[in-house]
Symmetry: C2
């Protein structure tokens, strides 16, 4: 039996913002990984199969198989990568800066993204676009105000962090739902800075193995 | 000027599950703190004032003023406490166990709680109870399945952790929305174990400074 450590396996979807968070973290850390596409739309949703439920009982992407275990919840996955892999730190060393990074992450991951998640919008039905816009704008008003205090070149000071990993995918979602991001100059400026980085461009939804041809960059 | 370190100040609400998470963390760590009640119902919601928005731009509880800064987002607050205060660890030392703890925390904090939060239910209107039940039950089905794999005496093995801090307040919410927790034997058993602990009973919504007389234990 081989003792070579297997590459991490990401079960994700090109357009899922939480999957993109994990792809950015792998890219920033320089970790090679394999992808298994889970198409959230096709066949009524491939995340709903019994087979996938074994990987993530919440029937959401992402799930990552790594070091012999399968983990779900993107921020738990990213912090596991941070705590077990070398490479650039995704959290600052200073406890108050770490807290600010986590505050921004959780504002997005608990305060915005869950309310515009696919399974929530399916329950909302025809009003889904205005519902999603409402909660994204509400969250971005708060986020803009926080980022004005914390941001330097990146979300918290001049070092990239987990907060940036959460920001760019949420802006991508906002644009999908036609939110005018020009209203939020700090968010807009940070997002532009991030999209210019290789770790964000190579992991972008427009160029994944499962990106449909008509959505490719 | 005094150099004595001020006690942390919790801006919270007796019945907010996210405020209770922070109270449990303070209690487990043996940290004395002061409370400023923010009544989410009275005066149309005291969290909506300009004064409170300075503390938490999301206009939610909790916010904690500690070591000269004000932090919001309960899990960011709790991890700041964990990283700056002595006392029992709220996260295991082993990275895979830490990941499991965070996975459970985030399942609750991103996958369940945001969907039955006050400001979401206010937007849902008259169907709010069945909406909340739907997402709590959906989340508990997944959580029960995860906990069957991870639980010992507590959510992850036999040591108390941040996962337990998230579990008991979410069960309290489930009961408020008349979800039958008997359907979830592992969740039920863990919750009973937790409620018997002093850190959970002293911080319980039924005995806070702002608990109304008719809801006191």
């Amino acid at each position: 039996p081989s003792t070579r450590v297997a590459r991490p396996l990401l079960h994700g979807y090109f357009r899922s913002s939480c999957s993109w968070r994990v792809r950015i973290a792998f890219a920033l850390k320089g970790i090679d990984y394999d992808q298994v596409p889970v198409n959230l739309i096709k066949d009524g949703g491939q995340q709903l199969t019994d087979q996938y439920k074994e990987l993530n009982p919440m029937q959401q992407v992402p799930a990552v198989t790594i070091d012999g275990v399968t983990l779900s919840q993107s921020l738990a996955i990213i912090q596991y990568i941070e705590e077990t892999r070398p490479g650039p730190a995704l959290l600052p060393a200073d406890p108050q800066k770490r807290a600010k990074v986590r505050m921004i992450c959780d504002l997005i991951a608990s305060g915005i993204q869950p309310l515009q998640n696919l399974y929530v919008l399916q329950k909302i039905g025809e009003d889904k676009v205005s519902w999603a816009q409402h909660f994204i704008i509400r969250g971005f008003v708060a986020l803009e105000s926080l980022l004005k205090e914390t941001a330097g070149k990146y979300c918290v000071g001049d070092e990239i962090s987990m907060a940036d990993i959460c920001l760019a995918p949420q802006v991508y979602n906002a644009e999908r739902f036609k939110v005018d991001v020009d209203q939020f100059p700090t968010i807009k400026r940070l997002n532009q800075t991030l999209l210019a980085l290789e770790a964000f461009s190579t992991s972008h939804p427009s160029c994944q193995p499962d990106t449909p041809a008509d959505l490719r960059a």
